[in-house]
């Protein structure tokens, strides 16, 4: 500590000489870049850090009031300074230091985590929106499905009706064909029967004629009739 004070006093003593050797604007630039701010600025910064509203009480007034209240509390033995005060001061220093130390890392960590969670949730929402949109698009392709189904149903009804009529017609044709075949077969049967009867009749007639021809009387009659016819012819030619 003592060495640091001595070093800083030596540095402060050496500063005017070094500054004199440099141009003024360079000194000003150095003061703003590397040296600590002037005491007035630091004091004003400290005053700004005091908790009060500028509209009601000035910062300086609040500092004076706080100091006065503390002095009054101690002098009137409202607050007794003892070993607990040491713990209080040490705790305030430590907690202040700790809070300053961890504020920025905690802030960065928390913001990074919040950003990660937000990213995950927004990603999930985007995916869900995309999935819903995809589903909507898929369903939109089926927007004419009702009218199309109704048309198909009407066509299917017509088809069924036509098929029924076709079936009826086919049945009629089948019945007609059956009737025709039966009738044809009947006609064929009748024809065969008639042919058989005619054949029998012919045979009978031929047989009877042959039998008659074999009889002498018939032969004589035929002969007589033939002679008569020849005579008649001769007679007619003679005329």
């Amino acid at each position: 500590m003592a060495s640091r004070i001595a070093f800083s006093s030596m540095r402060a003593a050496a500063r005017p000489r070094a500054a004199a050797a440099l141009p003024r604007h360079a000194v000003r630039a150095m003061a703003t870049s590397s040296n600590p701010p002037p005491p007035e600025q630091r004091a004003s910064e400290l005053m700004e850090k005091l908790p009060s509203s500028p509209g009601l009480l000035t910062k300086g007034t609040s500092a004076i009031v706080a100091t006065g209240l503390a002095a009054t509390a101690i002098s009137q033995e409202l607050y007794v300074v003892n070993e607990e005060t040491i713990i209080l001061v040490a705790s305030i220093i430590f907690v202040t230091y700790l809070s300053k130390m961890i504020r920025e890392p905690y802030k960065e960590w928390a913001e990074a985590n919040i950003a990660r969670i937000r990213k995950v949730l927004e990603g999930a929402r985007a995916e869900h929106t995309h999935a819903v949109q995809h589903r909507i698009d898929n369903v939109a392709q089926l927007k004419d499905v009702v009218s199309l189904t109704q048309g198909l149903f009407a066509i299917s009804k017509d088809t069924a009706k036509t098929e029924a009529e076709t079936f009826v017609q086919q049945q009629k044709v089948a019945v007609a064909a059956e009737v025709k075949s039966v009738l044809d077969s009947w006609v064929r049967y009748e024809q065969q029967l008639k042919e058989a009867e005619q054949l029998d009749l012919t045979r009978t007639v031929i047989d009877r004629v042959l039998v008659d021809l074999k009889q002498e009387k018939t032969q004589r009659d035929i002969l007589m009739q033939a002679v008569a016819e020849v005579e008649q012819l001769v007679k007619n030619k003679a005329v």
Binding site: E83, T85, A90, I93, F94, L98, A110, I114
Partner: protein, 255 residues
């Protein structure tokens, strides 16, 4: 210097009555609000308040406060799952409440002029004995008489069984005390040390200006001890809950 009134460093742990009613009813019923009860109420209010504030209006995206609570919940949840088992998350609310009760009790005790709830033997030992009894009942309800096999390590020769059962039984019963005493002793030791050191520091600061300036060196060490005490508060809460998880694992799984 002769005006100093030095109290015992242990006097900070005395349970004193703040408000009391000694009514001549029910055999002179004595209802008293002690500093222990008051600080227990503070713990409850702080725990409730912090969780209500950290609830973040049930928003899905956490804020900077609620993310710390969510992280602690996730840490405790992973601890429960690792220690007791993935199927035993039923114990998470108990472990979570226990952790935050002890943590807030320890942290509040670091505030100057406050009272250390967890430095009270009634609280620490009461908690540990209650947990020990509860865990034993839980183990008996899950495993029945098979629970007593816990006292015989596997592969023990028959001749050594009586001796090992005795040792295991004493070891098991010691859990009831060790769990509470660990917390109680750490907090009492830390606070007593701070009290003693602060008394010395106060005496030194009350001396001449030169001595006061030189005393800044031990004061820096004292600052480090304050930090250590805050760390101990967190570590002891964690150790307590970790051991409770371990005891629950033994009760649920037997070894």
């Amino acid at each position: 210097m002769s005006g100093f009134n030095i109290l015992s460093p242990l006097s900070q742990f005395e349970v004193s009555s703040l408000i009391g009613v000694n009514a001549p009813i029910l055999g002179y019923l004595n209802i008293t609000l002690t500093n222990l009860a008051l600080y227990s109420c503070f713990i409850l209010l702080i725990a409730l308040g912090l969780h209500l504030y950290g609830n973040n209006d049930s928003n899905l995206i956490p804020n900077k406060w609620s993310i710390s609570l969510e992280t602690s919940f996730a840490s405790l949840s992973s601890m429960v799952r690792e220690q007791i088992g993935a199927q035993s998350e039923i114990y998470l609310p108990f472990i979570y409440s226990l952790f935050f009760f002890i943590l807030f009790g320890n942290l509040i005790s670091n505030v100057p002029y406050s009272f250390a709830v967890t430095a009270s033997g009634v609280v620490s030992l009461g908690l540990s004995v209650t947990i020990f009894i509860g865990v034993t009942i839980l183990a008996l309800s899950i495993h029945g008489l098979k629970f007593f096999s816990f006292f015989i390590p596997s592969g023990t020769p028959l001749a050594l069984v009586p001796l090992l059962v005795l040792i295991e039984l004493v070891s098991y019963l010691a859990r009831a005390v060790s769990l509470g005493v660990r917390l109680f002793a750490n907090i009492v030791a830390g606070h007593t040390l701070l009290k003693i050191l602060s008394t010395y520091l106060y005496k030194l600061f009350s001396g001449s200006v030169l001595i006061a300036v030189i005393t800044l060196i031990p004061f820096a060490i004292f600052l480090a001890l304050i930090g250590l005490e805050i760390a101990v508060s967190l570590i002891q809460a964690f150790v307590f809950t970790l051991l409770v998880c371990s005891y629950l694992r033994d009760a649920v799984h037997l070894h």
